[in-house]
């Protein structure tokens, strides 16, 4: 058996989610190959070749893969699938977009967002916003899996020396075209891979109050997140959203500020190692999962916390 992992990258470097996905692939029996498909992405293929445990890097470089459009990526995966028992991608918006289109073309029932691997054909995944865990077995000849990245350790970035093999492109479908992007720029760590996350909810009352959280985040080297309520209200952009339908995070420390703790939000953060909740409503459900709860008005508590971090 050989396993194919689809690298997520931006044509200049690998995204951290790729390393967790390779970590998951390492729990299956067989050599692991990594597909780097993009445009002008030779540096990514070279970076990938350094990952220990990768037997081969498959480098497919063509303009139609520049924006990873699913209509172009899926025929490429189909053309390669015959050589593999499993194809894995991270359960990020990249993997969620591309994989099901390939799965349908391969007539394979994809298993989404796996959080555990029982054997080569049996996988565990959360359903109902993580309120239940399903163990499912697949008999499809090629199994397509997206991987909950917080559930698998990332592999090391260097130390290996895999062979890089060039793969022929599969052509441009012409069905969709990239028309622009508004990518959030931040000096802070990426939300899904940060060791510490500070998140704000509806209790923040306005986007103008988020700098209070950013100040704490910067002292802790943390990423800033938000609940759906805060994103829907326009306080912060969509890529801040933690929850069932946003990002799933599992940092060492998650600080929830002014977040009530709806099940849809808990679904995205309850695997965090330590949870702190600051909320003035002592009945808020967030306190039921918090290791350290502080019942307080956040507009008083957050500046005090900021000062206490300085004092230490």
């Amino acid at each position: 058996m050989t396993i194919l992992v689809i690298a997520e990258h931006d044509n200049s470097e690998l995204k951290p989610a790729t390393h967790n996905t390779i970590g998951a692939a390492g729990q299956l029996d067989g050599d692991v190959h990594l597909l780097v498909a993009g445009s002008g992405c030779a540096s990514v293929a070279e970076q990938a070749a350094g990952i220990p445990g990768i037997a081969q890097v498959l480098h497919c470089d063509s303009v139609e893969y520049e924006h990873f459009l699913s209509e172009n990526m899926s025929p490429l995966l189909v053309s390669m699938a015959g050589n593999y028992s499993h194809i894995l991608a991270p359960a990020t918006t990249f993997g969620k977009n591309v994989m099901p289109r390939a799965a349908a073309l391969l007539d394979s029932q994809q298993i989404s967002d796996i959080s555990g691997i029982e054997s080569n054909d049996t996988f565990v995944r959360p359903i109902y916003a993580g309120n239940a865990m399903a163990t499912v077995k697949s008999n499809d000849s090629v199994k397509l899996l997206t991987v909950r990245i917080t559930s698998f350790e990332a592999v090391a970035e260097t130390g290996g020396s895999a062979e890089i093999v060039t793969v022929a492109a599969a052509g441009d479908s012409g069905l969709t075209a990239f028309a622009g992007a508004d990518i959030s720029k931040s000096e802070r760590p990426e939300l899904t891979s940060a060791d510490i996350v500070v998140s704000g909810g509806r209790g923040m009352q306005s986007g103008e109050n988020f700098p209070m959280l950013e100040s704490i985040a910067d002292k802790l080297g943390a990423a800033v997140g938000a609940s759906r309520a805060a994103v829907d209200a326009g306080y912060v952009p969509n890529d801040y959203q933690v929850g069932q339908t946003g990002k799933v995070v599992a940092p060492n420390l998650y600080i929830a500020v002014g977040i009530s703790g709806a099940i849809q939000h808990l679904a995205g953060m309850k695997d965090s190692k330590v949870i702190v909740a600051i909320n003035k409503d002592e009945e808020a459900p967030i306190f039921q999962v918090a290791d350290y709860g502080w019942v307080a008005d956040l507009f008083e508590a957050v500046p005090q916390l900021d000062a206490a971090l300085d004092a230490g």
Binding site: S70, S74, T93, F94, K96, P100, R101, A102, A103, A104, L105, D107, Q109, Q110, S112, P126, I127, Y128, N131, A132, M133, A134, T135, V136, K137, S138, L175, T176, F178, A179, G180, D182, I183, S184, I196, V231, D232, N238, D239, T245, K247, N252, L253, I263, K273, V274, I275, F287, Q288, V289, A290, D291, Y292, G293, W294, Q304, L305, A308, A311, G312
Partner: protein
């Protein structure tokens, strides 16, 4: 343009889900069911296109047990013109649903299929992408805005890294995200009117699709429970606990 909106009947988003004691699934008997919230957003988007003169018919379609007719009535009460129920008692996987919808698309020839990006029961996030593959149509996922043009749709997509816009050739399959709109409530007169709107009934066999599941559900369990911890009463106490007890800062 005709718009097809597939909708799913799921446990109401406000109901606490319980796992069955025999680990065969989650408890569905006597539980309040509702239209999947993302599907409501898709229905709303279709209705707004019709109201803007960009579409002339909105068809809601649902596949599943006979009670899915209630979910379709909700879509009709919101304003859809007619409904199609594909009745099947099996647990329908996304690939099966995509095959059923493909067959419906071949009969109805819509210019656009609008779906929710995921259902809040299985959290699979697959059906729209799979349908687009089977039809060979363009696909835009996680839409937070959709602009209808003569030969294409311009779609803003919500990504982990921010926003992206793409142009998708018509016909297309578009899956919708939370920020696209706020769905309307059905008014009482419209709920009454919906009872008279046409609903066709089909089966998987009518559509030539094998609806049996591919995956075997070995078991469904409760997740590990998290215990509430302690309360702190000052910033100094919190920082001390995080530094010296939890050792996470």
């Amino acid at each position: 343009m005709k718009i097809l909106v597939p909708v799913k009947r799921v446990i109401d988003a406000n109901v606490k889900v319980r796992v069955k004691s025999d680990q065969s699934g989650v408890e569905l008997a006597n539980i309040k069911m509702a239209m999947n919230p993302f599907c409501e957003i898709a229905v709303e988007a279709a209705l707004r296109m019709r109201e803007a003169g960009q579409a002339d018919e909105v068809i809601v379609v649902s596949a599943g047990v006979s009670q899915c007719h209630e979910t379709l009535r909700t879509g009709l009460a919101m304003g859809a013109d007619r409904a199609i129920l594909i009745e099947d008692d099996q647990d329908l996987e996304p690939l099966v649903v995509a095959k059923l919808l493909k067959a419906v698309c071949e009969r109805e020839e819509p210019g656009l299929v609008l779906l929710g990006k995921q259902a809040i029961d299985g959290d699979n996030n697959q059906t729209g992408q799979m349908l687009s593959a089977l039809l060979g149509w363009s696909n835009a996922t996680f839409a937070s805005s959709i602009e209808v043009n003569d030969d294409h749709f311009k779609v803003t997509r919500e990504l982990d890294s921010g926003l992206e816009s793409v142009t998708a050739n018509r016909p297309s399959v578009i899956t919708v995200d939370l920020r696209l709109n706020e769905p309307r409530y059905a008014s009482l007169p419209n709920i009454m009117k919906a009872k008279k709107k046409p609903m066709d009934k089909l089966t998987a066999a009518d559509l030539g699709v094998d609806s049996s599941p591919r995956l075997q559900v070995v078991k469904v369990e409760e997740p590990p429970a998290r215990q509430a911890g302690i309360k702190v009463s000052s910033a100094e106490e919190l920082v001390d606990k995080l530094r010296n007890e939890a050792k996470v800062i």
